[in-house]
Amino acid sequence: MDWLERELKGALAREEPPEDFASRVMRRASAPVRPVYRWPRWLAAAAAVIVLAGAGLGYRQYRGEMAKEQLMQAFKIASVKVNRIQSAVEGIGK
């Protein structure tokens, strides 16, 4: 063991904890353990599935309504164009 190792032994010598350390450990060890209520895992998983399924259904409904709106808009545009063509054709006949 050289000088550095001897110094290291001195520098890293054991130190005593605070005087009341042992008594505090004993107090904590003898304290009654409070039961911690935890939600069952299956319940958390079921809740997650329900939320995801609900979100999925909601999104599908939203997409359906958007498609319906677009279709109605397309029908309206087509109807206006058909009316104009009809008027034009009737004008040629006269």
Binding site: D2, W3, L4, E5, E7, L8, K9, G10, A11, L12, A13, R14, E15, E16, P17, P18, F21, A22, R24, V25, M26, R28, A29
Partner: protein
């Protein structure tokens, strides 16, 4: 008549184990974490863990090994949670005044600070080697590590410390005066 069985675990008194091993557990945490409050918290948790596992402890020696191993693990975990490894930056280590003989307490403090800058695995290996006077095989058991790896960490750490001390003008001849 009921014959009393001399079960080993019943012979172990938790309070005695705390008193016997408190300085070892506390010092491992303190030298590793460099934070007295945190070291005390971790050391308390180690003993509370022992209290919960008293049924599986077979002897006083077993309790000592158990405490050392758990103290090592808990101190490393606490250091990781703290997420700022060298609590004392190397640059903050006090430089000795040139041509002034290095005094023992000053060198000891410098060594503790330099060890605090080592990565966690070699730092813990050095603490177990020089605080607990363990040989590499025992350190390997406490840290779940091959003996060759422990030896390598110790050698590299010593070389690094020598280099850093030399850069600060601390050499054997100065120390010995």
């Amino acid at each position: 008549m009921i014959e009393l069985q001399n079960l080993p675990e019943t012979a172990l008194d938790f309070a005695d184990l705390v008193r016997e091993h408190q300085s070892m557990v506390f010092s491992v945490c303190w030298h590793f974490l460099h934070d007295r409050d945190q070291a005390e918290d971790v050391a308390q948790e180690v003993f509370l863990g022992l209290h919960r596992n008293m049924a599986s402890i077979q002897s006083a020696a077993h309790a000592g090994h158990w405490l050392r191993k758990v103290a090592v693990q808990r101190a490393i975990d606490a250091g990781r949670r703290r997420a700022r490894r060298p609590q004392v930056a190397l640059e903050d280590v006090a430089e000795p005044v040139a041509h002034t003989p290095v005094r023992d307490p000053m060198l000891a403090e410098m060594l503790r600070r330099l060890i605090a800058t080592l990565p966690e695995t070699p730092r813990m290996a050095m603490i177990l080697r020089y605080q607990e006077d363990l040989d590499p095989a025992e350190i390997g058991q406490a840290m779940d590590m091959p003996v060759a790896t422990v030896k390598s960490h110790l050698q590299r750490s010593l070389a690094l410390l020598r280099e850093k001390l030399a850069r600060r003008g601390v050499r054997e001849e100065k120390w010995t005066g």
